[in-house]
Amino acid sequence: MTLLVLSGIRKSFGAVDVLHGVDLTVEAGEVVGLVGDNGAGKSTLMKTITGIYRADTGSITFEGNDILQLDPGQRRRLGIEMIYQDLSLAKQQDVSANIFLGREPTRKVLGFLPGIVDKAEMDRQAAKMIERLGAHLPSINRAVGSFSGGQQQTVAIARALTFNPKLVIMDEPTAALAVREVQSVLDLIRRLKSEGIAVILISHRLNDVLSVTDRIVVLRHGRAAANLQTAKTNMNEVVSRIVGGGDQSAAAAHEARG
């Protein structure tokens, strides 16, 4: 069964139409690259999947169930996670507080007082997750705002992976990273795929997209303009689909150089 099906998604902000009826499907364990020029509507489309934005019209089903009316918390519980470009971390809170934000484990105190957050359990699981990601943090009890960009991203990734997601959306996960860190993110995507977790990767770095995805969807002027099998396409085709119009070869040449 297809994991995620979007059909006819429209979204406008006031007079500005951002999405004009987007269709998109993602199979379980599939890595889909979502590319497009600035303003093509990539982030907006992803936020309609996570529930941050409510689509004006269209339908979204996840594992066959209509999720259009669900709020972001409910969609997370179904297994839809997103790693935001700005990471969306609470910077004054520590590592486990961020990883478990909105889903803190609780335990009863004295058998009847409800809802005491189990911080020890949170810290234990957070440390385990960070270790699984092969990352090193100065201290798990420090405010994440004091960490480097790469370390903060580790926390954001750990938050997305801790609750056994079925779909992980990554918005420009490599944009702000050093070369070595980029490789580890790409390795992570491959590992998620091997574990049967679907990934939607938004990136401007087409080399990354070509090397790690199964399929590439090109978003152009708020529509899915192309749906390419990564194995059967190349940089030139992707670039020409992104820019459309006449000056494709120049853009492709530039991209190939870069």
């Binding site: 918390g73 969609r75 997370r76 609470a90 004054q92 809170q93 961020n98 934000l101």
Partner: protein, 330 residues
């Protein structure tokens, strides 16, 4: 890689530990001790049991208000209506008891309910009408004060029944009732803020609203609850004050929001949200209590006390911002 870690001085270590473990500012404790020592030297009356109980009594109203300020500011909000809502609540309680002649428990509850309603209105206007909190609560500051004057016809309502007066003046085991109520409120508020999902979400909302939203926290709903809670706590403070002075005074609590917000900021609450502790706020409230008490003992005119509190607020925010700049590695 970072000099702070390479040679951690005792002070730096203690500071970090106090911030991380207890979420309080070590400086605030030092200020409290220094201030108390200075007062003890300056006034022969400062160091006595009866004066200590006086300080506790005076701190109880401000302390309850400061708890409200801590929650709201910790969530990235602001409630300027605390003092006015406190005044309105006291009048409402006195009106219910004296003019409507309803039983004391009903009148006491009316204080908290009146405050809660004012807070709920704040919350709805902020989250649904999308008027900034600064404007909504500034407007409520005027609205609540005006309503208190309308209800009481501009006069102090006297003649509270004994049970209500006991809440303000009673001393079981020699401890003033308001102080007991403050301690109970503070303990509950501390546990909720530090150990429950509600408390952690409050700080997360103040830290990064977008992160909280992405995590599935219903931010607007949470804010409405917080403003309602803030109003209800202002109502509780109004109840304590009314019972202590044995009357419903429509001008009660004037400028108290200034003192309450100052106490919260001194206690380590980040003015822009994301960091707060009730323990710290209680130290802040005690500092304000000792300051006022000391200035009273030294027979300093109350006009100067207002100036002192205002100056302390600005100073506390300055120190906070200065340290944040120092800590950020930009």
């Amino acid at each position: 890689m970072d000099t702070e870690l390479a040679s951690p001085g005792m002070w730096a270590r203690a500071q970090r530990a106090s911030v991380e473990q207890l979420h309080i500012r070590l400086e605030s404790l030092v200020v409290l001790v220094l201030l108390s020592t200075a007062m003890a030297i300056l006034s022969p009356f400062f160091l006595s049991l009866s004066n200590f109980l006086n300080i506790l009594l005076a701190t109880s109203t401000i302390g309850v208000l400061a708890i409200a300020a801590t929650y709201v500011i910790g969530s990235g909000g602001l409630d300027l209506s605390l003092g006015s809502v406190m005044g309105l609540s006291g009048v409402a309680g006195a009106y219910v008891a004296v003019n409507l002649e309803l039983p004391s428990p009903v009148a006491l509850a009316a204080c908290v309910v009146a405050g809660g309603i004012a807070g709920f209105i704040n919350g709805v206007l902020i989250t649904r009408a999308l008027v900034p909190a600064f404007i909504v609560t500034l407007g409520m500051l005027g609205l609540a004060r005006g309503l208190a004057l309308v209800i009481s016809d501009g006069r102090v309502i006297y003649g509270l029944p004994p049970l209500m007066v006991y809440v303000g003046q009673g001393r079981p085991l020699g401890i003033p009732m308001p102080a007991i109520i403050l301690v109970i409120t503070a303990v509950i508020a501390h546990c909720v803020l530090a150990y429950t999902r509600f408390g952690r979400h409050t700080l997360a909302v103040g830290d990064s609203e977008s992160a909280a939203r992405a995590a599935g926290i219903r931010v607007e709903h949470h804010r409405r609850i917080l403003y309602t809670l803030s109003g209800a706590l202002a109502g509780l403070a109004g109840m304590l004050f009314m019972a202590r002075v044995n009357s419903g005074d429509p001008t009660a609590g004037t400028n108290y929001e200034l003192t309450a917000i100052t106490a919260a900021i001194i206690g380590g609450t980040n003015l822009f949200g994301g960091r707060a502790s009730i323990l710290g706020t209680m130290i802040g409230a005690l500092i304000m209590g000792v300051l006022q008490n000391g200035l009273n003992l030294l027979a300093v005119q109350s006009f100067y006390q207002q100036m002192a509190i205002g100056a302390v607020l600005i100073l506390a925010v300055f120190i906070d911002q200065y340290q944040l700049r120092k800590e950020s590695r930009v």
